[in-house]
């Protein structure tokens, strides 16, 4: 392997070493806040997500399975890959898929990402929603897949109402976050481009449709 410039040499060009005390930098996050905790977070999230071209649907916890199998029947996927950390939720989703006649391909551990290219829908849980931007925040930690939300042409996400944060800032200033996942992604709409003459086209490389079941407990 070709060795590049040594670290010492490289760093020396950037000036003299400074002490870690140089890290003193306080910033005012509140300047950035566009949505406060007092707002109706659910309403704001639904509105923002829909405005971005995602399809959020509010469901009661007890009817989640029914609503999901209804949605799957509408979308009629033949196969799905799952990225769900919680065992109970996973069984619920599998039952809904079964009643909608959709086959689950377990792409999460055994077969890796290549198999995700052949399925019709990726079904994932999420860590947070963001009311300000309508974003979903997904983590790859705890057995969750990096590709499930991105590779299949349709993404179906399950978000619980209490996971909705007011503002993007709240995600970054939350203390006590556990270890950083290998991959985190904020999904803010379906995949899109305006590269050809500024004409908006959805579904470039990532999914063309993002459905969100927002569960109200």
């Amino acid at each position: 392997m070709v060795e590049g410039t040594s670290r010492e040499h490289f760093l020396a060009r950037l000036g003299p070493a400074t002490s870690p005390a140089a890290e003193d930098l306080s910033v005012d996050h509140e300047l950035l806040r566009l949505v406060g905790p007092e707002e109706d977070l659910l309403a704001r999230f639904m509105q923002e997500a829909a405005g971005l071209g995602m399809q959020p649907r509010l469901v009661q916890a007890e009817s989640l399975e029914l609503e999901m199998s209804r949605l799957l029947s509408e979308l009629a996927p033949v196969s799905a890959c799952l990225s769900l950390a919680d065992g109970q939720l996973r069984s619920l989703v599998l039952r809904a898929m079964h009643s909608a006649g959709c086959e689950a391909r377990d792409t999460t551990m055994s077969r890796g990402i290549a198999a995700q290219y052949d399925v019709d829908i990726g079904i994932t849980d999420v860590c947070h929603g963001v009311a300000e931007t309508g974003s979903l925040i997904l983590n790859s930690a705890a057995g969750r897949s990096r590709g499930a939300h991105l590779v299949p042409p349709i993404h179906l996400a399950i978000l619980y109402r209490e996971q909705i944060l007011p503002d993007l800032v709240d995600f970054f200033t939350a203390t006590g976050e556990s270890e950083l996942a290998t991959a985190q992604v904020f999904v803010t709409g379906p995949s899109k481009t305006a590269d050809i003459e500024g004409v908006l086209v959805t579904g470039v490389h990532g999914p063309r449709a993002v459905h969100i079941l927002v569960v109200d407990n």
Partner: protein, 493 residues
């Protein structure tokens, strides 16, 4: 594909003079119209989204973001060291490259060691700066640009003309022709159809690639994380499917903490495309862990200096705060007039390119770039990290005069002008004689504003200077003469 044309366009023979490409752009109305309408629309949208979101808070946010960036640059050595340590702690590898050749050699070596044959690449200005694709292809690694605009530009063996929207100079017909010719598909002008064709072609590449290359929007020193902001999803696919992920990044991309990131996320998308946030914001911290079901097993960072440490040491280090949002390009009247990025003869174009390129690649190599601004201030107003670009053009112009890069005649003319400004008599004489002389040289131009005489070409010694400049004739009577006759002011007036 060894890309001679691309070499020529963004890596021209030096010293590079803008004249020929400006003439070409002037003759290409379609291109100038495309560039003007797209950039003008983006510029309006940017102003709207800031007014509708941060409103009067915006200046304070800009200053805060600029302060964070200035802090990083002041302590860059510390933060680069910290970043490298954090990446290694996560199981990634960091390589240091003094220049772009070294960076490319490292990348090619990684590709060879992994036996990589197919590489998928997401959009990255720094890989353009290094002409990485050329070197990978020469080493036998098929390398595919996966951003739609970059993909079409690559099919056409063309070069990107804007740092955010690379095919701003091309229309749907050009895209259709490129796909028809290179992918043997039916010709179409429908953007959705063209996008669908690219999607299916590139999905196959994503699926089978063994190497993924990305740039970096931000690097987080405390956690060793990489942040990527995209709309299409190609970056996510490029760095999830292949077994090896190589990140190319300039050293100025590092910011201290994850908690500093929202400043830049909230500014970047609004400034670049008028969105609140790009569709995908990926934060990647290390290679795949044993508990992860998918993702690359190897993660390499190649950190590139390539002239940046020189800029850092200069009094123009502020330019390294740039987050490459493209807002200054969209706001710039010169960028529109010259038909987009190609006229700048370098990877970074528009106001930021005109200021940065001479510093990275030598002022003597790009003598025209500091002049490629009307100093109107639109770029400074547009910049979300408050970079005072006009100030940098003035500094560069001063340096040119000091280093005598500007021709001796132009210097002489400026000196005479400066002298005459100090003496009322000389000024009066000079302007009267000048007016008579210029009258003889001017010609009546139709199509230019008003029915006024224009100076198109001046004789030696001003010939070269006037080649790229058309000037309106001075008014027939001077301000002084008018003042005297219309307002009846006395001799001392």
């Amino acid at each position: 594909m060894s890309d001679d044309q691309q070499r020529h366009l963004l890596d021209p023979k030096l010293p590079y003079l803008m004249g020929a490409r400006i003439d070409k752009a002037m003759a290409d109305d379609a291109m100038r119209t495309a560039v003007t309408s797209t950039t003008a629309a983006k510029d309006v949208l940017r102003k709207e989204v800031f007014a509708n979101s941060f409103a009067e808070r915006y200046p304070a946010i800009k200053r805060e973001a600029a302060r964070i960036k200035a802090h990083c640059l002041d302590n860059l050595r510390h933060y680069i060291d910290k970043f490298a340590g954090a990446v290694e702690g996560l199981g990634g590898k960091v390589h240091f490259a003094s220049d772009s050749q070294e960076a490319n050699r490292i990348c090619v070596a990684i590709a060879k060691a992994e036996g990589a044959r197919l590489c998928v690449k997401s959009k990255s200005m720094v890989t353009e700066e290094a002409f990485l694709v050329r070197d990978l292809e020469d080493a036998g690694v098929e390398t595919v640009e996966t951003d739609l605009g970059e993909f079409i530009v690559q099919l056409d063996r063309d070069a990107p003309s804007h740092i955010v929207t690379p095919m701003i100079h091309k229309d749907r017909r050009a895209a259709g022709r490129a796909m028809q010719r290179e992918l043997q598909v039916e010709y179409s002008e429908d953007p959705s159809k063209l996008t669908a064709i690219a999607r299916s072609y590139l999905r196959d590449k994503f699926r089978h690639a063994d190497l993924g290359i990305s740039g970096a929007n931000f690097l987080i020193a405390e956690s060793g994380s990489l942040v990527l902001c995209t709309n299409e999803g190609n970056a996510g696919l490029s760095v999830t499917s292949p077994r090896v992920h190589v990140v190319f990044a300039g050293i100025e991309k590092v910011i201290p903490r994850l908690s500093d990131l929202p400043f830049f996320l909230k500014l970047l998308a609004r400034s670049g495309t008028g969105q609140d946030l790009t569709v995908y914001t990926n934060i990647i911290s290390g290679p795949r862990r044993s508990s992860d079901p998918d993702g690359p097993e190897e993660l390499h960072f190649i950190l590139l200096d390539n002239g940046r440490s020189k800029v850092l040491a200069s009094d123009q280090s502020e330019l390294l705060a740039c987050i490459r949002c493209g807002a200054c390009l969209n706001a710039c009247p010169v960028f529109r007039a010259v038909g987009g990025g190609h006229a700048y003869g370098a990877v970074y174009s528009g106001p930021i390119g005109a200021a940065l390129t001479p510093l990275l690649r030598g002022l003597e190599n790009y003598p025209d770039l500091p002049q490629a601004s009307s100093l109107c201030g639109a770029c400074h107003e547009a910049c979300p990290v408050d970079i005072d670009l006009p100030k940098h053009f003035v500094s560069l112009r001063r340096a040119q005069i000091e280093q005598q890069i500007v021709g001796w005649r132009e210097r002489l003319a400026y000196r005479l002008w400066a002298k005459s400004m100090r003496s009322a008599l000389l000024f009066r004489m000079g302007s009267r004689m000048g007016r008579i002389a210029l009258g003889l040289l001017s010609s009546r131009q139709s199509g230019k504003a008003g029915d006024r005489r224009w100076l198109m070409r001046l004789p030696w010694p001003m010939k070269a200077w006037s080649m790229d400049r058309d000037l309106p004739m001075p008014a027939r009577r001077s301000f002084r003469q008018l003042w005297k006759s219309e307002c009846g002011v006395g001799k001392n007036g």
